[in-house]
């Protein structure tokens, strides 16, 4: 037989692929993945809104659900041959068995991936107008997620080829969900890098390129291994298995996920030009206009009362290991879950709560010893006084009599009291704190 030119051969494969895309499990997979994507995005917009890296990371967080769906879809598609009693007829044809297996896998993987990417493209339309940092390796994180969807479909294909039972697909999907969940909560280094599911990295951090390449290599090898076993290509399966192990070992035994370096571009400071400085990382800078009106009145009150801390800075920009308590000059702000879909500030109260680090007494935690409740109450009074300038609650919170008494003092006396409180709190001088809490 004369060899068929590549172009004509691929044209026929494309035509068969189109048939599979229309008539196989693919349309249902696309719809299910689109729905799952929209649902996941709607559940936690604060994780992805306003940040490209956040969107890519959330794509990987969603793998817990998405991979389970793709495994189920792959299993359903691959099981149809035996369910529909076509195995014998197909076996009698000359085309190598892996061709229809790969064609069916490709159709489901393409359709499912397109469905979920469509949902995430919708989210990208919200991110694009507000995002203030487009750099970093987020593209690669997204790409590894796409590879993982192909891997999940391939594993499903293998399950479907092994079992023609209708329940095999939902059971395989559920088992994938549980397995990935166990790996996630196992919280081991191997699980962090070999599982496609991200536990939710901090968005200003970057995963080393070699780890990302290793993840992609591991998932690709696993894909080939699954498809090769499904098509009973044992030599190919052995080769892919060897590659999978060779790639997995260095990735799983390499540096852990808790010492990821910051992306220098993402943590570059962006500060307000006037008044007490409010500085955010570039990746969170889209929140600056919303953060400043919340933070600045508190900073002004602080500087008027004590002169310090005099600035509020995004904790993402702090060197690794920096504690969350104030260093005297700086109040650290946490902005990782602080964005609405359109890029606004999601929870001003959480931001104000970051100032509690200023008023919290620096008392060492002692086991089997309850902190003095009077100190605790006084720290609440100090925090309430500090945050009062921009404080509003609905319905109004009951006013503490101690706070009322403090507010009744002349402003200079209020400042002096607050300054004395901070001094005593910094030293954990409990007697001095108790004295400050007594009516004067």
């Amino acid at each position: 037989m004369t060899p068929v030119p590549f172009v004509r051969r691929t044209a026929q494969v494309r035509r068969m692929l189109r048939v599979e895309l229309r008539r196989g499990t693919a349309p249902v997979a696309a719809l299910a993945m689109f729905g799952a994507g929209v649902w996941m995005l709607a559940v936690h917009p604060d994780h992805w809104a306003g940040r490209w890296a956040g969107l890519a990371d959330y794509f990987r967080v969603s793998m817990l659900i998405l991979c389970a769906l793709m495994v189920a879809a792959g299993a359903w598609q691959a099981g149809r041959e035996r369910r529909r009693d076509l195995g014998e007829l197909i076996t009698s044809t000359p085309r190598p068995g892996w061709h229809p297996v790969v064609l069916a896998w490709l159709a489901v993987a393409l359709a499912g991936t397109t469905g979920v990417l469509l949902a995430f493209s919708g989210a990208a339309a919200f991110v694009a107008p507000v995002a203030t940092y487009a750099g970093g390796g987020w593209w690669w994180m997204l790409a590894v997620g796409v590879v993982a969807l192909g891997t999940a479909t391939a594993i499903g294909t293998l399950v479907g080829r092994l079992s023609a039972l209708r329940v095999a697909a939902p059971i395989a999907g559920l088992a994938t969900y549980l397995g990935l969940g166990i790996l996630l909560y196992g919280d081991t280094r191997a699980a962090a890098w070999l599982s496609p599911v991200s536990p939710g990295w901090r968005m200003h951090q970057s995963i080393p390129d070699w780890v990302t390449a290793g993840q992609a290599g591991w998932l690709l090898a696993l894909t080939v291994l699954s498809l090769a076993v499904a098509a009973r290509r044992w030599w190919m399966a052995a080769l892919a298995g060897g590659v999978a192990i060779a790639v997995a070992v260095p990735v799983a035994t390499g540096p852990g996920p808790y010492r990821l370096p910051a992306d220098p571009g993402a943590v570059q400071l962006v500060c307000t030009d006037t008044g007490p400085p409010v500085c955010l990382s570039r990746i969170n800078a889209f929140l600056l206009d919303d953060v400043t009106p919340v933070v600045r009145p508190v900073l002004i009150r602080l500087t008027e009362a004590t002169g310090r801390p005099w600035r509020a800075v995004d904790h993402a920009t702090a060197p690794a290991g920096t504690p969350d308590s104030t260093d005297g000059d700086t109040v650290w702000l946490y902005l990782d879950s602080q964005s609405t879909v359109r890029g606004g500030l999601a929870r001003p109260d959480w931001l104000r709560a970051d100032f509690h680090t200023v008023t919290r007494p620096r008392c060492p935690v002692e086991q089997r010893r309850e902190p003095d409740h009077r100190v605790y109450q006084l720290s609440s009074v100090a925090a309430a006084w500090l945050l009062d300038a921009s404080h509003s609650t609905d319905p109004p919170a009951p006013v503490d009599p101690a706070l009322e008494r403090l507010r009744a003092l002349p402003l200079a006396a209020q400042h002096a009291w607050f300054s004395a409180y901070l001094d005593a709190a910094a030293r954990c001088d409990v007697p001095a704190l108790i004295r400050l809490g007594q009516p004067q």
Binding site: M1, V4, R8, R9, A11, Q12, V13, R15, M16, V19, R23, G24, R80, R84, D85, L86, G87, E88, L89, I90, T91, S92, T93, P94, R95, H99, P100
Partner: protein, 251 residues
């Protein structure tokens, strides 16, 4: 010209032999394969369709040894097969289903569209070509199954109970199609309907308990029967007589 050659074929399921020392030679033309239930007809069809590996014996299809992988692939390219239990993908249209099998049979891509239309036309389903398989009646499904079997103009066509579900008019048309196909291909039709054999087959083989007990022309099978044999037609009487004779000889 012999294009299917079977020598010393033995197939068993577990310890139970289904075909035993079977010898068969088939040339171009339509051959009927008759036999009672459990005689081994479907097993023989599956061996010839290359989906069942025999325990022993030599099978040559279209001059190729099935034990040679390259020969097997070449033989499969020239093979058409309609199994007894014909499955299908319900969401595929008839055209897509036949095209899918044309692709599986490694037909040249440029020949596929025309071959698909021709196969569908030959089974009389052209007006339903774009209907989904799940919307077809039992007879139409059978015809779609025949269309996928003949799409590659096979040199060896194996049809296991092809007329099941066809109405009388469709059976008449199908016999005409069989005669046409048998002009330049080996067509082996396994059936219980002996009148189909008389009407369409040039030769007939009768299998009983895994052994070939008769092979010859339909008129020779008819001649084997006598007026006292059971059966409503001459061929049924011949069929019954040959079976009775084979069983008595085996005792």
């Amino acid at each position: 010209m012999t294009t299917v050659s079977i020598h010393g074929l033995r197939v068993s399921y577990g310890s139970r032999p289904v075909l035993e020392e079977l010898e068969l030679e088939l040339g171009v033309g339509v051959h009927g394969l008759l036999g009672p239930n459990g005689a081994g007809k479907t097993t023989l069809m599956r061996v010839l369709a290359t989906v069942l590996r025999p325990d022993r014996g030599e099978v040559r299809l279209l001059g190729r040894q099935l034990s040679d992988p390259a020969g097997l692939r070449l033989a499969r390219r020239q093979l058409g097969y309609l199994p007894q239990s014909f499955g299908f993908y319900p969401r595929f249209t008839v055209r897509e289903f036949v095209e899918y099998f044309a692709w599986l049979k490694e037909m040249p891509p440029e020949a596929i569209p025309l071959a698909v239309d021709r196969a569908i036309e030959r089974v009389g389903l052209l007006d339903r070509a774009d209907d989904r398989m799940k919307h077809l009646s039992g007879g139409m499904l059978r015809r779609a199954g025949i269309a996928q079997a003949i799409v590659n103009d096979p040199k060896l066509l194996l049809l296991d109970e092809p007329t099941a579900g066809l109405d009388p008019e469709q059976r008449v048309e199908f016999r005409a199609l069989l005669r046409q196909l048998g002009l330049d291909a080996v067509v082996l039709v396994s059936t219980h309907l002996v009148e189909d054999v008389v009407a369409a087959c040039a030769r007939v083989s009768l299998v009983d308990k895994g052994r070939l007990v008769f092979t010859g022309r339909p008129d020779e099978l008819i001649a084997a029967g006598a007026a006292g044999d059971s059966g409503d037609s001459p061929i049924e009487r011949g069929y019954a007589a040959v079976l009775r004779g084979a069983r008595e000889a085996a005792r």
